[in-house]
């Protein structure tokens, strides 16, 4: 059986398993799976920048966070916002922010680009943390999950963890499919070319700045989608959602999974969250509680991945296959 057929069948099997999850698993597992799917969307959006375009951003959480804040600010207090208006609004806000920041930071490259993305994200973090805007360091609570009713017909109730899971799963599949399609499109090929040899693309006549900017905005909007869903899940937004610590964590997921691949960020976020929960659940022994210090084995895992897994987990599976 050809490789792509094997992969397609595996994908369908996994999708069916995911769809059946709420019927067989308990609440905590379903909520955890929801969290993984949301982080996977976030990681996929960053992978679009880092893996496909070769743009290492250390400030991607800014777009994640701003969408969450957009939901919090556009929700009437103690009442549910309208899903069908608040989600596009949040994504547009994230996209607009990405347009403004991208237009500036994309003038730089290499290490300066990394620092510039960090600087702008920190500016936003500082703005929200230090000023009284939007709840300051405490953030804002979202008391009611958005209403996903469509002209009175409420097929799903996001307050129910099972329904919320299905909505997130559906959005995850849409994003996954969209990125798959994007990679193979005319736009996707230009982005791939820019990653491999940007000067050559310019000498071939491509206005590379424009394409990088569009990519940056798309990645920002998808990060916004993830941020919106995360805000819904946790019911609170605070400045740490935009902080560099979080930007670093999602970058880790992208690299752990394997950059530039479609499944990489999904595997990476699942692996990272599973590791987190695994390390947190280590049994206490002799009064020493390793679960409390889960960041130590996590840090060690990250260091090992950085040194020995340049192609991430999917690299282990693919074993030196030439790109495209």
């Amino acid at each position: 059986m050809s490789r792509s057929n094997t992969l397609a069948i595996a994908a369908v099997v996994i999708l069916i398993a995911l769809a059946l999850l709420p019927f067989v698993a308990e609440k905590f597992t379903v909520q955890f799976a929801t969290r993984i799917l949301i982080m996977a969307i976030f990681a996929m959006s960053l992978n679009l920048l880092v893996g496909h375009a070769g743009l290492v951003s250390l400030g991607h959480a800014a777009y994640f966070g701003i969408a969450g804040y957009c939901l919090a600010l556009s929700s009437p207090q103690y009442q549910a916002a309208n899903f069908w208006t608040s989600l596009p609004l949040a994504m547009i806000a994230a996209g607009a922010l990405a347009l403004a920041i991208g237009a500036l930071v994309l003038r730089t490259s290499g290490i300066y680009f990394i620092m510039a993305t960090l600087a702008f994200a920190q500016m936003l973090h500082s703005l929200l943390h230090d000023t009284g805007i939007a709840g300051g360091s405490d953030g804002i609570f979202i008391y009611a999950r958005p209403d996903i009713g469509f002209f009175g017909w409420r097929a799903f109730d996001l307050e129910k963890f099972g329904d919320f899971y299905f909505v997130v799963l559906a959005l995850f599949v849409v994003v996954f499919g969209f990125i798959g399609v994007l990679r193979a499109s005319l736009f996707g090929r230009v982005i791939a070319g820019i990653r491999v040899n940007e000067p050559r693309m310019r000498s071939l006549g491509f206005a590379t700045f424009r394409y990088k900017l569009v990519c940056f905005v798309l990645a920002g909007m998808l990060a916004g989608l993830a941020g919106y869903l995360a805000a819904v899940q946790f019911g609170v937004v605070n400045p740490d959602m935009l902080g560099w610590h979080f930007s670093g964590a999602v970058l880790m997921m992208v690299i752990l999974g394997g950059m530039g691949t479609l499944a990489g960020p999904v595997i990476g976020s699942a692996a990272m969250l599973l590791l987190e929960i695994g390390f947190q659940s280590l049994p206490a022994v002799d009064g020493i509680n390793p679960g409390k210090h889960w960041q130590l084995p996590m840090g060690i895992a990250i260091v090992l991945v950085a040194l020995y897994l340049p192609n991430g987990l999917t690299g282990l599976l693919r074993r030196g296959r030439a790109d495209e």
Partner: protein, 298 residues
């Protein structure tokens, strides 16, 4: 603002700036000479502070704690470089960001295990605990002046090292042309190890001397890290002189920003946005003059 208050703020700004310089100086050397983005650099500052607290308790005074702490942090730096950092030279920025990010987690958890998560105060040494009176009501702590003095001394030592010694010449050469230095037969591995250990020690020293005024708390490393990156960017990657100028600039902007009130429109422009102004400055430099004030032009 009356003169006494202004003087106090100025001294505070300079002290903060000089302290930042101590930390950022190491960071810019590591970045400029070794080409390594070291996200864990703030953690060494934190380690220094906790060392100051713990050693001064065990040894009885800060005077003994500081040299002991310097020795320990040099050893830590050498160990880290040999174990981990030297594997990063052939890898890209992505792996560096990742590895040093993991290092932050490791260092923070080890600190949590060894010293706990509580906030601690470190008592000032008797000798320096007085205050110089400026007016009837205002006095300036001698200890803060001492911090500035220590930073100035180390800034001068760093200057002498880099500008006047053979080692410094190698460091400067390494910043502009790695291959050349290697082909001249200089042991680049030892040089890098030394530079890294120097950076770690300076950051830890900063933490140690700052501990009595800033107290010792878990988030202090992360807090100072990004500001240090701003210093490095503004001053120019690899330039110690630039780090000094950048650090003082940020010290002034941050300190005076926090005490000045400037309402513009409905929003109180300062002090609320003082924190943001540092990153705004960083962004402006990156966009307008990426090499910073003193860095080599691209």
């Amino acid at each position: 603002m009356d003169f006494a208050t202004f003087l106090i703020q100025l001294l505070n700004a300079v002290q903060y700036g000089l302290l930042l310089f101590l930390i950022a100086g190491g960071l810019t050397l590591i970045l400029g000479i070794m080409g390594i983005i070291n996200l864990a650099h703030g953690s060494f500052y934190m380690v220094g502070a906790y060392l100051a607290w713990s050693l001064s308790m065990h040894l009885g005074s800060l005077w003994l704690a500081i040299p002991a702490g310097i020795v320990l942090s040099v050893i830590l730096g050498l160990l880290l470089e040999w174990l981990l950092i030297r594997r990063l030279y052939r890898l890209g920025h992505l792996q560096q960001v990742l590895l040093t990010y993991g290092l932050i987690l490791i260092v923070e958890e080890l600190r949590s295990i060894i010293w706990g998560d509580d906030v601690h105060g470190v008592p000032m040494p008797e000798l320096l605990s007085a205050s110089i009176p400026l007016t009837d009501t205002l006095a300036y702590p001698v200890y803060r002046l001492w911090i500035s003095a220590v930073c100035v001394v180390f800034a001068l030592l760093l200057y002498v090292l880099i500008q006047r010694t053979r080692l410094g010449m190698m460091i400067r050469a390494g910043a502009s042309n790695r291959e050349m230095v290697q082909s001249l037969g200089i042991d680049i591995d030892l040089l890098y190890r030394f530079v890294f250990a120097l950076g770690v020690a300076l950051a830890a020293l900063a933490g140690m001397i700052a501990a009595p005024v800033s107290s010792v708390f878990p988030a202090m490393g992360n807090q100072v890290l990004i500001v240090c990156f701003a210093v490095v960017v503004i001053g120019g990657i690899g330039s110690v002189k630039g780090a000094l100028v950048g650090a003082l600039l940020i010290g002034l902007v941050d300190t005076f920003g926090k005490v000045t009130e400037l309402p513009i429109g409905g929003l109180r422009f300062l002090p609320e946005l003082a924190g943001m102004s540092v990153y705004l400055l960083m962004a402006v430099v990156l966009l307008w003059r990426p090499a910073g004030l003193f860095g080599k032009s691209s």
